[in-house]
Assembly symmetry: C2
Homo-oligomer: 693 residues x 2
């Protein structure tokens, strides 16, 4: 396949026609008439036309139950389901019973939940409402055994997080430095072209379908760095927001807008955006009412304020609660929410000043405000205290704001994790984060604490493969799945993705993909910044190694390597005191260089090169070992991929091969630069005598 | 003065009206009618109108000599001068005698030369031709004592270099990364706007006047990286080149074009630009004939070939002589020249490979070709083997090509020397270079070897002060003056510039400017990369410190610092062998770490930190000492500037003050980063206990 062909081509991601093969060969009954049920119906009509099944549409008012035949699949809501007094198939009855438990101690099924049951060759999806029916249909794709295998007892599925959101850092006007998609590695924006919202949103519709299939229900369509052009989505361009919302609505997804805190000045011509100024409040009230008039199910606002140059309440001596509540008041009458980002720090730090610690910043700014935010404010916290590094501790903010709704923010786009040139399946990292217990082994998890849901920066652009690297589609897939159910095993999620994306995959292909992807995050960690210290990337674009790239900059991201040792002392005893932001036991675990987990050692401690890790080797030998091992793992990965030639579609094979060559080059570059840097500094030779330059 | 006023303002540089005050108050006789004599006449008419003198224009055919009164200034050519048989003033007679020596052993005065004499209150400029008269007039501005002081015996002035050229790295289409002027720090281009040659070239005319006043006679008007848009200057846009040439011609300056070696493909639609292909030769012949039909005094072509991605003869298995001679053949019938740059190296070097040495590249490519270039090829060699660092040895190419016309290339734009944010008067550096004797103490100088003249990259843009930093005007001034006469004392050149630029300057102002500027190049050297090792700048833009910024890159610019020592081993004995490219004595002086001059030690040798310099301290202590001293010197410079408030024009004062604040910030940043870097690596404390971070 030549490049010119690729331009005309759009990869189906994890929803190729063949993913509908099993379901499409069935007789399917779809009960209900709500718009999302229509969406389900259209999907299934297309599938049965392709695969020889047939479909029965039924209004869901009980008027015509029809016969329930064996080998049928029924999708219905609780209300619309079985006809009054009719005998129903056992699968339906069983599912219905679980969906409407009767016992007041059992929580009723939410609008997005569904029950799946299979009995006597009959499969039933019973949902409380239309969204659940949509999600139930996609469940059947992921689990074809549910429509063709042995009986399965009824099982409830409900999302663990009510808000499952993707944030797009897309600019309408191409930014001279950051491009059209800030931190985007998949071409241009699917929403915008030529300085406007695209006239043709058909690709956005296909994107919405992909998102619905993994349970995403909210999308913020513009960059959190809201420049002048993008600010106008709230005013002149509201008609275009209506068009985007129409597209997403058909797939159960609400649209949110990132807004500029100075909008009352930029758009409203006011002289202030002081959150306590009545005119400012009135401006937001009016602007918000206009939005809801146009988009009644509008999701809300996303705000980056007083961060990296964005305007915010600090200019008026107000705090983030004042700022967030201003918008919350405007949104509350309509049921909208404010996502207010906690990513606030001093990006003009003096590297000479070791007392300032960027890791402390979010907690220092936000923890004191706990309890002051309105109910419809969601404080959106990056998962770690720094910025989406391959390894960070969990942010202490997550444990510090019990009186505030929190969303945890992840990054699907691989800014610091290989920029979709490298295979780096991130779900194992997210899984660790979401399962982490901030209050210790008997306490709640990060996922539990994220009562405002999960949000992540999307990795999608107008690239024919959606995500540049075809295997990076798995990250988007996994984010949706983990946002729905954080307890899922990332390897099993990957297996789902493989099954859907490569319907023809035999066991060998499947095993090879697991070999390549399961451990790819740890491999990336191995060949990049060691032991949690982070960064060491080329400034600006953040790709490839530059050990001292950020060492003497204002960005607050240092490793402090000298001839004797490396790492950041964030202890209370002798460092920045950051460990004190954690509750027990972590405040003590992290405080102690001997208790601190190896993988976070250099995040919390400055240690000599001969410090011995729990894993056995010294820090310096660990650096050498992991970097050689990481590059070797990429060699193995590359060789494994080559065995798939001819076993998966050529377009995918070639694109991945090309990227893997770059990953291999870059991994070797990381290995050699990091090893040379630390050898030149420490003077300690590699115990195994490998080549260090 | 507010910014909005500055926008309307254009600083007169070193030609304010007041610079003409003494001359303009005289009775002046201008003899001749050639176009350049008209230029002289117009300048003087304007001056006498301002300052109360008067002017006599005389055709120069001997028809009307007129009376020569006392206190008169006469400018004439040898031919046009005294009327036949008339008695002439003694000053004229004396000057005429020196201009036309009669003795065949004495070289006749060239077209650009002039004689100045003053006798009995009468001053005479006698030139062989009109260009000399133009230069003679500007001589009188620099030396007002010649028209108002005591008698002076006749003295000949002739340029040491026939070609005195400025190269503009200006793009017509603004480059997405490099901007409109590549390595320009003075705003946009004076030639181009909105993707075209400017409709209004009046600023270019004022620029031409400034250049004529310092003796520049050639200008290349476009970037040596010739992109597709700029390539069309040779074809579609030739009419615009005509307009630029018309403007420059009135000031004795020829226009040159940088051309893309692939022009036969880009513009001509040929399938090759192979220099030995007859069609390619025919294409260049025709294209060149078209240029000369439009611009009969066109200077010639400037070419960067097979360098940093530019096309060249290598693609066809040809060498640089083949490439240069191709263009030379096309230009020869019209008297044009090719400037062919020797800046050729591998910019995709592997930092791991210590055997490749970028410093060797120009010699390795060009020295073997000596003698093969046509007479109208000028090989243009950067003064040092790397790239315009604050300190480099002289390029060995300069001594290696006795059978080739060479131009030495300097950089007036302060790419690596503070980007016109820092005061860095470069003439002392250029003076050292031009006076350097590549063959040892009894041999010729670099200036002698530069039989193709001098070329330099201009620092001028559309900034109201021409050069961003007002004091950077002195660099442009000094380049012109040193290109004319390399033996000039840079301090005296600066004194000329002060006198012209600040006509009201008293001794205190003059002394303060010397305090600030005389030593500013060495100060810059003190606080940046030490001992000739170079770079340590932020990659890409090259401003500000980043010690390891280029250490692990493909650019071939390394310092190899480790915990034990620093520097590049370029010896024959143990290093890259670069020292072997020099003739004696330098091949031996540079080979020996004990003989090598301190300031080049790390360019040629990798030495331990405790290596003792000729100047006394160890290398590491020298690094600390010079960096503290450099930053302190900037503090003193800033304080000295502040004493000038109210004594020089506010516009100049404020602009310089603002830049000096930045210079001080940046000098401290250099000091602290370099000291911290080497302290962290070496572990050696500062002998004086100063703060190192």
């Amino acid at each position: 396949m030549k490049d010119s062909d690729v331009d005309l081509f759009e990869h189906p991601a994890w929803l190729p026609d063949a993913a509908f093969g099993v379901l499409g060969s069935k007789r399917i009954r779809v009960v209900g008439e709500a718009p999302l049920v229509q969406t389900v119906g259209h999907e299934l009509e297309r599938s049965v036309a392709l695969y020889g099944g047939n479909i029965v549409r039924q209004p869901g008012d009980g008027s015509e139950t029809g016969s329930q035949e064996p080998d049928e699949v029924t999708l219905t809501t609780v209300d619309g389901g079985p006809g009054r007094g009719d005998a129903v198939a056992p699968a339906i009855a069983e599912a219905m019973a679980l969906a409407t438990p009767g016992d007041p101690a059992v929580r009723a099924l939410g609008a997005e939940g569904y029950v799946v049951a299979r009995r006597d060759g009959h499969t039933a999806i019973v949902a409380a409402d239309a969204p659940g029916m949509l999600y139930g249909m996609f469940h059947l794709l992921r689990h074809p055994g549910c429509v063709s295998g042995p009986d399965q007892p009824a099982q409830r599925y409900e999302p663990r997080h009510a808000l499952r959101m993707l944030d797009h850092w897309d600019n309408i006007a191409v930014h001279p430095v950051m491009g059209q998609v800030e931190r985007g590695y998949s071409g241009g924006s699917i929403f915008y072209a030529d300085g406007e919202v695209r006239a043709d949103l058909s690709r956005v519709e296909r994107y919405a379908r992909l998102l619905a299939s993994i349970g995403i229900n909210s999308v913020a369509v513009n960059n959190v760095n809201v420049h002048a052009r993008e600010a106008r989505l709230l005013s002149d361009d509201l008609h275009a927001v209506v068009r985007m919302a129409d597209v997403f609505r058909a797939w159960g997804i609400r649209v949110h807008l990132a807004v500029n805190f100075a909008s009352p000045i930029i758009l409203g011509g006011l002289r202030t955006s002081d959150p306590l100024d009545p005119d400012v409040g009135a401006w937001w009230d009016e602007a918000t009412a206009r939005v809801y008039q146009a988009v009644p199910d509008f999701g809300g606002y996303l705000v980056k304020a007083d961060s990296e140059g964005q305007p915010g309440p600090f200019a008026y001596g107000r705090d983030h609660a004042d700022g967030a509540n201003l918008l919350a008041r405007a949104l509350a009458p309509f049921g909208g929410v404010v996502h207010w980002r906690a990513f606030v720090y001093n990006h003009r730090q003096d590297w000479r000043d070791r007392s300032t610690d960027r890791a402390r910043a979010a907690y220092d700014h936000f923890a004191p405000l706990d309890g002051r935010f309105h109910d419809n404010v969601i404080v959106q916290v990056k998962h770690g205290p720094m910025d989406f590094q391959v390894r960070e501790p969990v942010s202490p903010v997550i444990a510090a704001m019990p009186g505030t709704r929190l969303a945890v923010e992840l990054q699907v786009t691989q800014e610091y994790t290989g920029q979709q040139q490298h295979v780096c399946y991130l779900a194992p990292a997210w899984s660790e984060i979401l399962r982490f217990q901030p209050w210790g082994p008997d306490g709640a998890t990060v996922s539990d604490a994220a009562d405002g849901g999960l949000a992540a920066v999307s990795n999608v652009g107008d690239d024919p493969f959606w995500t540049g690297h075809p295997l990076a589609q798995a990250n988007l897939y996994a984010f949706g799945r983990l946002a729905w159910e954080p307890a899922l095993d990332p390897v099993k999620v990957l297996d789902e993705w493989i099954g859907l994306s490569f319907p023809a995959a035999d066991d060998v292909v499947r095993a090879t993909l697991h070999d390549i992807m399961d451990g790819s995050w740890r491999t990336y960690e191995d060949y990049t910044a060691p032991l949690g210290v982070g960064f060491m990337v080329r400034p600006g674009h953040h790709y490839g190694p530059d050990v001292d790239g950020y060492e003497y900059t204002p960005w607050g991201t240092y490793h402090f390597a000298d001839r004797d040792g490396v790492g950041v002392d964030r202890t209370r005893a002798t460092g920045t005191g950051f460990t004190g932001q954690y509750p027990p036991p972590w405040r003590d675990v992290y405080e102690s260089a001997s208790d601190c987990p190896d993988e976070l050692l250099l995040f919390f401690h400055h240690v000599p090169y001969d410090h011995v890790l729990h894993s056995g080797p010294t820090v310096i030998q660990h650096i050498y070992d992991t970097h050689f091992a990481g590059a070797e793992a990429v060699e193995a990965m590359t060789a494994a991929w080559e065995t798939l030639r001819g076993r998966i579609p050529d377009t995918v094979f070639e694109r991945v091969s090309e990227r893997m060559r770059e990953q291999l080059r870059c991994a070797r570059e990381w290995r050699d630069q990091v090893c040379a840097y630390f050898y030149r500094k420490s003077g300690v030779p590699d115990a195994y005598g490998r080549t260090i330059f």
